[in-house]
Symmetry: C2
Subunit: 361 residues, 2 copies
């Protein structure tokens, strides 16, 4: 029944031990750190990715791509990056000529993921791309094809695949340690602030809360069950139409899995609610909060601990991708994984729109 | 927007103060305790209602109705009830001739609620009936009509309407103390043991987990929001078809309310999961567990306490009903309230069956 293969969520876990995957081995002198170009220097890049890069053992900051030269120079200076390694969107393709850059990490608004992933692949670079992978299944397929053609790796930035509490929840579920699982409650919600941010502009985001934050609930339901949904039902609500124009403020969606497991999922931009709770025959377990950058907490109804040291999830995912690139090993978060979510999210929007269950092939 | 009127969930709370409703005033010498006939002496009667009756201040045990004479005599002896006050289903209508009986409490399998409620009303008795009120909207309407015709009160045993943590959750929601509420997560689940119990026999139960335990989640979504749902979507799952024949083992259902609030609800006979969580603009609050007989715990994300002394919910609801009967005041849990749930549950089953949203009038 598990649809995520050996390279997937639990593969690395089983191979390395629950904490091993999270604690990068010390870089050997003969192992070159891979150069990462960050494309887009918005909030995520500045507050998370740049600090995380300093903690990685297999990566280093090699370039910045930005439409704001002043901002880029300031950030470059702060991180000791030579100005020659600053690119604009116009000069982006010249990354092809920069051997210091091995990996291009696309941190742009969703609607730009496909273009810059494809251009990065054509420039001969491996690509790591923020979630959601793109704004349509077709774009995802084009991104995968472009990377395949260029013989470059494509990874999607699903940081929770590297987060130990979430990995442990998936392990407990699949091992049936607390019996067969029956129901998953997964809430991926956050409160969006600035009404002018690109996330609220459908042309740039491709959707509302679902594609941005609800995707974590969708992911959790999939990696916890280890199954692919066979159908979805959904409904959405907007209580602030001035802020949420043509996008989902709140989306409830329900997933049916082949084993009979059901997932009840909540996505919202209007509340703080983020937890993944698994109800199994012999107890409950999960994470609450489940998707924060820091401070994730596990729980088990049998009172056994579900606790791990806090890690830098961004450093962990970048190190893993670089390690895979270096070793020529598949990543556990390939483009195909991103594509699956985009396909399911398209079905969720159709279900919410039509009021009807949508079957998945 | 609130559809539950002044007599409803919050009325008594506001009138009496959060704890006042729960702490029955001392009976005055001139106030006769009302005599209660318990119809059916199964587990709920024996483990909860009989002990609770001893704690009431406005009620007393006046009769038992059972199809098992030996069992009835044993229970009667234990509770000091004269043998003449034991009835069978054949002699049930003779309750009309017993002035010691004021209230008939129907604790039978769901499919028998309508018949015994109607017969009790015809016998001139007020009726308190276990939830779900009946197995069809039509039966509910007939029960209401019979009690109206006999000028007798009808109450449905929704014990959480008398449980202080639940009342407080509804109060916080409706007062917008933590901002407008946006999403309600409500899980009403339990694990059914004995596969031969009447609850698993659709002819006697009228449904599966939804009508028995999921109804608490439905209720919670309604009394917390103070609104009536305008449409439902749902899906069900059976993982043990030998045990759950033609009934829902697990049912997910989603309710849309006029204000835009959405409720994501879970009903299951296969797991322990029972909590009502409210996500509002400025925080989260709720109860977990939310529907246990004892040990309900409240939480608020702002760290303020949501805690009350544990009460006997069965004593509280029986005292309240007797007090209403005595004073000629409407109960906050009338037949109309039971009917609303049965109507919505019929819509939930239609939604799950068809895979389509079902609108509610």
């Amino acid at each position: 029944m598990p649809m995520i293969d050996r390279r997937g969520f639990l593969g690395a876990l089983a191979a390395a031990g629950a904490m091993g995957v999270m604690r990068p081995r010390a870089a050997r002198a003969d192992e070159k750190r891979l150069g990462v170009a960050l494309v887009g220097i918005g909030k995520l890049t500045q507050t998370q990715l740049l600090p995380a890069l300093k903690k990685t053992t297999a990566c280093r900051l090699a370039a910045l791509v930005s439409g704001h030269p002043d901002k880029a120079r300031k950030v470059a200076a702060e991180y000791g990056l030579p100005e020659k390694n600053i690119y604009s969107y116009e000069t982006f393709d010249r990354l092809a000529d920069n051997p210091e850059v091995d990996i291009v990490y696309v941190v742009l608004p969703n609607a730009m993921h496909a273009e810059y992933t494809i251009r990065a692949a054509r420039a001969g670079k491996h690509v790591y791309c923020e979630k959601p992978m793109a704004v349509s299944v077709r774009e995802c397929e084009e991104m995968i094809a472009a990377c395949n053609k260029a013989k470059r790796m494509l990874g999607i930035a699903y940081r929770l695949h590297f987060e130990p509490h979430n990995l442990e929840v998936a392990r407990i579920a699949r091992s049936k340690e607390l019996g067969a699982i029956k129901v998953i409650e997964a809430a991926g919600c956050t409160m969006v602030g600035d009404p002018k941010q690109w996330r609220l502009d459908k042309k740039l985001s491709g959707g509302g809360s679902l594609v941005d934050i609800g995707i974590y609930a969708l992911q959790a339901a999939r990696y916890i069950s280890g199954e692919e949904p066979v159908s979805v039902t959904a409904r959405q609500s907007v209580t602030d139409p001035a802020k949420f124009k043509g996008i989902d403020e709140t989306m409830l969606f329900e997933l049916a899995f082949p084993s009979g497991v059901l997932a009840s999922c909540i996505s919202s931009y209007a509340v703080f609610l983020n937890h993944f709770t698994v109800a199994a025959e012999a107890g409950r377990f999960g994470v609450d909060p489940g998707l924060n950058y820091h401070g994730i907490r596990g729980f088990r109804s049998d009172g056994k601990p579900l606790a791990f040291p806090d890690i830098d999830q961004f450093a962990a995912e970048m190190d893993d991708f670089a390690t895979c690139v270096r070793a020529g090993k598949p990543t556990r978060v390939p483009g195909e994984e991103g594509l699956r979510d985009v396909r399911i999210m398209e079905a969720i929007y159709r279900a919410a729109e039509s009021g009807r269950e949508v079957k998945l092939g």
